[in-house]
């Protein structure tokens, strides 16, 4: 590492090519609209325009690379960038929560990597080094980790970048399992991609839909529609969905390997884009074990951790094992310091009267639609049936939403098709709240929420419709458990 005064460094020269490849399509996409508008002016003008874009893209890439400097100091990293509006960012190492190393295809060709420094702040691109040499990336990460914990420096000195290979492996997936797990990744995302593409074409006026779809053609198409065609099409869509799922899973999880590193878990995966992420154990908040309908019946689960200040792309959730047996997950949980979930009989669901609240809207709707079917139009009966089905789903959701607590953590299960078990150790509590809506008050019910750092906004960690007395007592109990768990961890070995 750098002795004496640290020197500012530039990004790897390959950045030029990567930036250029990144900037040009963006500019071209914007330009295509203009080009399309000026279509009659001939191909010459279009070519000229494309050439200008290519050169301009190169200039932009060069300026970016030229004006980007980073300095790795003894206790902080300084990033300077920008041509006219110069931006200087100082990130002290003790604020760094995570350093992710990612290698896209291009980066792999050049032996470089993108380094993302996470500090848990609100800003999205807090510290991105895109790209530096892979060896530099590893060195930087080790250096930062030493900076965060000076006491460990000596122990870390021995750890070479390749030390990862000798770290104990917690979870690994071989190819057959990876392919098998892809079967459950069924995805219709390609439909969205196709429709998006069609919309783009439409927008730029390359295709005139009015010319393409005339009434005569529509009639002709209508005559060709048969059951065989519909079934064939459905089969095709499903097949493509399965293939898309496998492709997506394989590209993402290829070579999945979770190892125990000194600070936490190190996860490596990816086929085209290699990514390496360290999940620092003291940043993990909640453990999530989830499984879809079919994979659950076959005994496969997914384990992930909600972490503080984690990768925002994945919503603060880091996958630790994408497709594993329960007996494979438990050691990982234990290694992360999370207790194993208690047996199913320990879980309690909400009181029966909570069903009223869950069912009331759907049953009312079903009743109204049934009346409508008799009075006005029989077709309303279909709606009534649908509402009744939704009511059934709501009832099942009530049954599946259960909670348990033991000496170390709170456990909550939920979900109808995808079932989710979440484990939250008491000491991770940020805030506890008990709330009661108008209908809940009538039924003497309350919802207890236990907030944690980096919690999902759409899936709060809560226990819905507890008995109002239980909810208050439980809130107080969880709060006291939090206090004593914290007192315990405070008296134990401290970090930083």
């Amino acid at each position: 590492m750098s002795d004496g005064a640290p020197e500012p460094r530039r990004l790897h020269p390959a950045t030029l090519i990567a930036r250029w490849l990144k900037v040009v399509p963006q500019m071209l996409a914007g330009g295509i609209g203009i080009a399309a508008a000026a279509r009659d002016q001939g191909a010459g003008r279009f070519l000229l325009f494309a050439l200008v874009m290519l050169v301009l893209g190169g200039v932009f890439a060069l300026v970016y690379w030229w004006r980007f400097r980073y300095t790795v100091g003894a206790s902080e990293i300084v990033i300077e960038k920008g041509l006219l509006q110069r931006q200087r960012r100082v990130i002290p190492f003790d604020r760094v929560q995570d350093i992710a190393i990612e290698q896209r295809l291009l980066a792999r060709l050049f032996g470089t990597a993108k380094v993302r420094i996470e500090t848990g702040g609100a800003a999205k691109d807090e510290g991105n080094l895109d790209m530096i040499a892979l060896a530099d990336a590893h060195a930087l990460r080790d250096h930062v980790r030493r900076g965060t914990r000076p006491a460990q420096a000596a122990a870390d000195e021995a750890e070479a970048p390749e030390a990862a290979a000798e770290e104990p492996v917690l979870f690994e997936m071989d190819l057959p399992r990876l392919l098998f797990s892809g079967l459950f990744g069924f995805s219709l995302i390609f439909l969205a991609v196709i429709s998006g593409l069609v919309q783009q074409l439409d927008q730029f006026g390359f295709v005139e839909w009015d010319d393409l779809f005339t009434e005569e053609r529509a009639d002709a198409a209508a005559n060709m529609v048969s059951f065989r065609l519909v079934f064939g099409l459905a089969a095709l869509v499903i097949m493509l969905g399965v293939i898309a799922g496998i492709v997506r899973t394989v590209t993402r999880d290829f070579g999945f390997k979770l190892t125990r590193s000194e600070a936490g878990f190190r996860r490596r995966r990816g086929l085209v884009t290699l990514s390496e992420v360290v999940i620092p154990l003291r940043r993990t908040q909640v453990a999530v074990v989830e499984s879809g309908l079919v994979s659950r019946m076959l005994g496969w689960h997914r384990l992930s951790f909600q972490t503080l200040g984690a990768d925002r792309k994945e919503g603060g959730v880091q996958v630790a094992a994408p497709f594993a047996r329960m007996e494979e997950l438990l050691p990982i949980l234990a290694e992360a310091g999370f207790p194993a979930p208690p047996p199913a009989c320990e879980f309690r669901s909400s009181p029966r009267r909570a069903l009223i609240r869950r069912l009331a809207p759907w049953l009312l709707l079903a009743g109204a639609l049934t009346a409508g079917a008799f009075l006005f139009d029989l077709r309303a009966g279909i709606g009534a049936l649908l509402a009744a089905l939704l009511a059934l789903g709501a009832a099942l959701r009530w049954r599946l939403h259960a909670h348990a607590e033991d000496g170390r953590a709170v456990y909550v299960t939920e979900g109808l098709l995808t079932r989710r078990l979440r484990i939250m150790p008491y000491e991770k509590t940020q805030l506890i709240s008990v709330s009661r809506g108008p209908l809940q008050r009538r039924l003497r019910l309350a919802t207890l929420l236990v907030d944690s750092a980096g919690a999902s906004a759409t899936r709060p960690f809560h226990m819905v419709d507890l008995d109002t007395r239980d909810a208050d007592a439980k809130a107080d109990r969880l709060y006291r458990a939090f206090l004593s768990a914290r007192a315990l961890s405070r008296s134990g070995p401290r970090h930083a």
Binding site: R436, A455, T468
Partner: protein, 165 residues
């Protein structure tokens, strides 16, 4: 109304400053006045085309606004309360959706004392506690005397321990 232990122990909670009722009144009265004015303007124009008698609509809007400004604030005020303890603060709020929130001081990231234009003439302020959580990312406690809010902020700040684990 159903008996509910939520209201069983109001004595244990510190109420907000009574001036908060006036603040709430103004907060309702201001938009009500704007709505009345809009209704009055409508009354001069489009509403004349209908069979509605003159001034009926703006009158109704004004009456509703006045009723709301008179009846609602005291109830809303009573629904608020807080209890500051050694290690945590407990805040109760809401009439329709009642919430009881426990914020451990050890989890407070930072504290704001905010004072809006309506609060200022009454010397009131809002204490806002920020945690690292998602749903309780910021917990407001309005209707405190500005000096008291600042004193509370200083008391809590002294107890904040800066670790995130």
């Amino acid at each position: 109304m159903q008996p509910d232990e939520y209201q069983d122990e109001p004595s244990a909670m510190t109420p907000l400053n009574p001036s908060q009722i006036k603040v709430l009144r103004i907060r309702i009265a201001l938009p009500a006045m704007v709505a009345t004015l809009a209704a009055f303007l409508l009354d001069l124009g489009p509403l004349r085309e209908t069979i509605l008698p003159q001034l009926a609509v703006p009158g109704a809007v004004l009456l509703l606004g006045l009723l709301a400004a008179l009846a609602y604030p005291p109830r809303r005020y009573r629904s608020w309360g807080y209890k500051e303890s050694e290690e945590e603060i407990e805040i109760r709020r809401g009439r329709w959706f009642r919430t009881r929130t426990i914020v451990p001081f050890g989890r407070v990231q930072h504290i704001d004392v905010a004072q809006g234009p309506i609060q200022r003439p009454f010397g009131l302020a809002t204490l806002i506690l920020h945690t690292a959580g998602t749903h309780g990312a910021s917990v407001p406690l309005p209707g405190l005397l500005h000096g008291e809010a600042e004193a509370m902020r200083d008391r809590i700040r002294a107890k904040i321990r800066q670790d995130l684990v």
